[in-house]
Amino acid sequence: MSYYQVPIGPQHPAIKEAFQFNFILDGEVIVDVKPRLGFVHRGIEKGMELRTWTQGIFLAERICGICNVPHTTCYCLAVEKIYGIEVPERAKYLRIIINELNRIHSHLLWIGVLGMELGFHTLFMYVWRDRERVMDLVEMISGNRVTPSMNCIGGVVYDITPEMIPVIRRNLDYLEERTKYYKSVLEEDPTIRARTVDVGVLSTGKALDLCAVGPVARASNVKSDVRFDDPYTLYDTINFNLITYDTCDVWGRAMVRVDETLESINAIRQALDKMRPGPINVKVKRIPPVGEANARVEAPRGELLHYVKSDGKETPYRAKMRTPTLANIPSLCEMLKGYYIADIPAIVASIDPCYCCTERVMFIDPNKGEKWTWSYDELRNYSRKYYGVGV
C-alpha cells in the first residue's frame, strides 16, 4: 500500500497561521501526522528578559491576537504573587468581566471559523456580525477593540462607569439570544452534523494521557477548568456550571464552546451585580522583591500558565509561558489519524489553534548564511536608515 505525503502549510489559505503538518496519506485517509512548528516563534520569553516589568505586560498581550486578555491577567497575577500584594475587590470583578468578554469574543470567532472551514460562509458572516457587539463593548470599556491592555500590576487600568452598565446589559441580552440561535443551528443543521459528528474523536483516556486542556478536554468528558479548580480573582464567588460533553468529537467541542459562551454571559451579569464602587488598582514599587511564582488562568483555549522569576532587578530574570494550544498538539495528532483529507480543516480548527500563542521566533537572516544579533539601537537605526526617517 503506497503512502504519499501531503504537506499542509506553512503557507495554506485555509490555515490562518504558519504551522506545518506532514500528513502521511493512504489515498484520502490520514495514516500519520508529524507536526513541525516554529514558523512564528518570536522569542518572547527572551524578549521578556529585556523589558521592564510593566513593559512585559504589553509584550505578554501580543503573544496572541485573540486570547490576549488572559495572557496579561496571568502575567499580572504571577507578578502580584511575587510582590505579595492583594488587588482591590472591584479590580477583581473588572478582571472577570474583561476575561469573560474575551472568552465570548474568542468562542464566537471560533464558531465562525468552523463555519468557514466547513464551507458554510453564511454562518461565518452572521456569527462575526454578532461578534462585533462584543468588540464594541471592549472598545467602549478599554479604548481598543482587540488589545484592551486592561490589566496592570496591582489591578486594572480602565473602570466601568455607571452609564456603561445598561449598554453592556442590553448587548449581553442580544448576544444571549443569538448564541441560543446558533446553538440550535449547530444541533439541527444536517450538513454541519454530517461534517462534525464522530469526526476527530479523542477518547477520554487519550485526552487524559496526552494532557489535553480546555474545550478539547471538556468535550471528551474531562472535568477540568481552572476557574473552578484553582479559582483566581474571585471566580469562586460567581456561580456558573462547568460544561462537559461526552461525544469526544468536533461537534462536542463546538457545543462546549457555545454553552461556555452562554455561561460567560451570565457570569458577566453576576460580576456586574456584585461589583461595589472602590479603587481599581494599587500603586506598586517599580521593582519587585526577589522570588518566583506561577499563575494559572483559564484562557478560551484552555489552561494557561505563566511562571515568573525575579532577582530584584528592573527586568524579570525568567518568564515562561505555556499556552493551551501547545498542550493540545499531541492530542490533535492523535485525533487526525484515520480521517479524510476533507476533515483536516475541521479537526485542526476544532482545537481552535492559536499558533502565534505557541510560537516565539528569533531574529536570523538565512540568505546571508550567518546569524547575528543586533541591539535595539542598531535595529532601530537600521530601520530608520532603510526608510530614511529623520535620523
Binding site: G119, Y126, A194, R195, D343
Partner: protein, 319 residues
C-alpha cells in the same frame, strides 16, 4: 443578406456578445444576492452599485502575468481554458432565447447539450491532471467522482420532461408545454436544480475546488488570463444551466404581455437567485457523503419522477 443576419444573430444579439453580458450580469446578481443573504452589501464600487465588478475582475485577471509552471503538460494546460469557454458558448447557442433558437434546433439537441456538459467535466479533469500539482490531481479526481454522482439524476429528470412533452428538441419542449413543467413535475425540478448546483461546482458541492482543503482544486495552478477565462467559463455555464432549466421547466419564453426574450431572461434570473439561495444555506459536503447522497436519494427520486410522468402524465395529456 440572410447570411449576415444569421451571423449577427450568432455573434451579436442573442448570441455570443449578449451571452457574455448576461454571464457578467448573472455573476453580479449572484454575488449581490449571496451578499444580501449574508447581511452584507456585496460589490459596490465598480460602476453603479458594483454592476461592473465582474468585468473589472475579468480585466484585472487578463492583465496579470501569464505563467505556465515548468513541470506542467503545457499543451493541455494552456488549451484547457479555451475549451472550457468554447463548450458553454456553443451549448448556449441552442437556448430558445427569443422564442426561436439562436443557431438551429433539431430533434435530439438535448442529448447534445448534456454531452457537452459532460465534456466540460472531462476538460476540468484533464486540466487538473495536466497541472501535476498534488492539490489539483486530488481536485481533478474529485471532479470526476462528483460528476459520476450528479450526471445520472440530471439526465433522468431531463428525460422525464422530454417524455412528457414528447420531443427531445429544446425549442419544441419550451414552446409546447401546456403548463410550466415545474408544476407538473416538481420532483424533477428539485432534482435538476440540485444536480445543476453540483455541475456548477457551487456550495454545497464545490468539493473539487474546496479552498479550505485543497487550495483551489483543479484550478490551483491557473493564474492570469487563463484563470480569467476559466472564471468566465463558469459564469457562462451558469447562464447555460439557468437557460436549460428555464427552457425545460419554466416554459421558456412564453408569458403574457412581455416579449419572449424578456420573459426568458427574467426566468433565468429567478433560477440564478434560487441557486444563490441554496449556496447560502449549506456547508460543503464531503466527497463520499455527496456521492452516497446522490446515489441513495437523487437517483431514486428522479426514477420515481420518470414513472410518475409515464403513467400519470399520459392521463393529463388532454389538459
Amino acid at each position: 443578406m440572410d447570411l449576415a443576419f444569421t451571423l449577427i444573430r450568432i455573434f451579436i444579439f442573442p448570441g455570443l456578445l449578449f451571452l457574455s453580458i448576461l454571464a457578467f450580469l448573472f455573476e453580479w446578481i449572484d454575488r449581490k444576492a449571496y451578499a444580501r443573504f449574508q447581511n452584507r452589501i456585496g460589490p459596490l464600487y465598480a460602476g453603479p452599485s458594483g454592476i461592473l465588478q465582474p468585468i473589472a475582475d475579468f480585466i484585472k485577471l487578463m492583465g496579470k502575468e501569464d505563467i505556465t509552471p515548468k513541470y506542467v503538460d503545457a499543451l493541455i494546460f494552456n488549451n484547457a481554458p479555451i475549451f472550457a469557454v468554447a463548450i458553454p458558448f456553443f451549448a448556449s447557442l441552442y437556448l430558445p432565447l427569443d422564442g426561436s433558437p439562436i443557431l438551429t434546433s433539431f430533434e435530439g439537441d438535448i442529448v447534445l447539450l448534456l454531452t457537452l456538459m459532460t465534456l466540460y467535466t472531462i476538460v476540468a479533469f484533464i486540466a487538473g491532471w495536466a497541472s501535476t500539482n498534488r492539490f489539483s490531481t486530488v481536485g481533478a479526481a474529485r471532479a470526476v467522482l462528483q460528476f459520476l454522482a450528479y450526471e445520472i439524476p440530471m439526465f433522468i429528470s431531463v428525460a422525464s420532461v422530454a417524455v412528457y412533452v414528447g420531443s427531445t428538441s429544446l425549442t419544441y419542449i419550451s414552446m409546447n408545454q401546456p403548463v410550466p413543467m415545474i408544476l407538473l413535475q416538481p420532483i424533477g425540478f428539485i432534482v435538476f436544480v440540485i444536480s445543476m448546483q453540483a455541475e456548477l461546482e457551487r456550495i454545497p458541492f464545490d468539493i473539487p475546488e474546496a479552498e479550505s482543503e485543497i487550495v483551489a482544486g483543479w484550478l490551483t495552478e491557473y493564474c492570469g488570463p487563463k484563470l480569467a477565462f476559466l472564471r468566465f467559463a463558469e459564469d457562462l455555464k451558469l447562464v447555460f444551466c439557468s437557460g436549460l432549466a428555464t427552457a425545460l421547466f419554466l416554459a421558456g419564453g412564453s408569458g403574457p404581455i412581455l416579449p419572449p426574450l424578456v420573459w426568458f431572461v427574467l426566468k433565468m434570473i429567478f433560477v440564478v437567485l434560487l441557486s444563490s439561495y441554496i449556496r447560502s444555506l449549506f456547508a460543503r459536503f464531503r466527497i463520499d457523503q455527496m456521492v452516497s447522497g446522490c446515489w441513495k436519494y437523487l437517483i431514486p427520486l428522479s426514477i420515481l419522477q420518470l414513472i410518475l410522468t409515464r403513467f400519470v402524465g399520459v392521463g393529463l395529456r388532454w389538459l
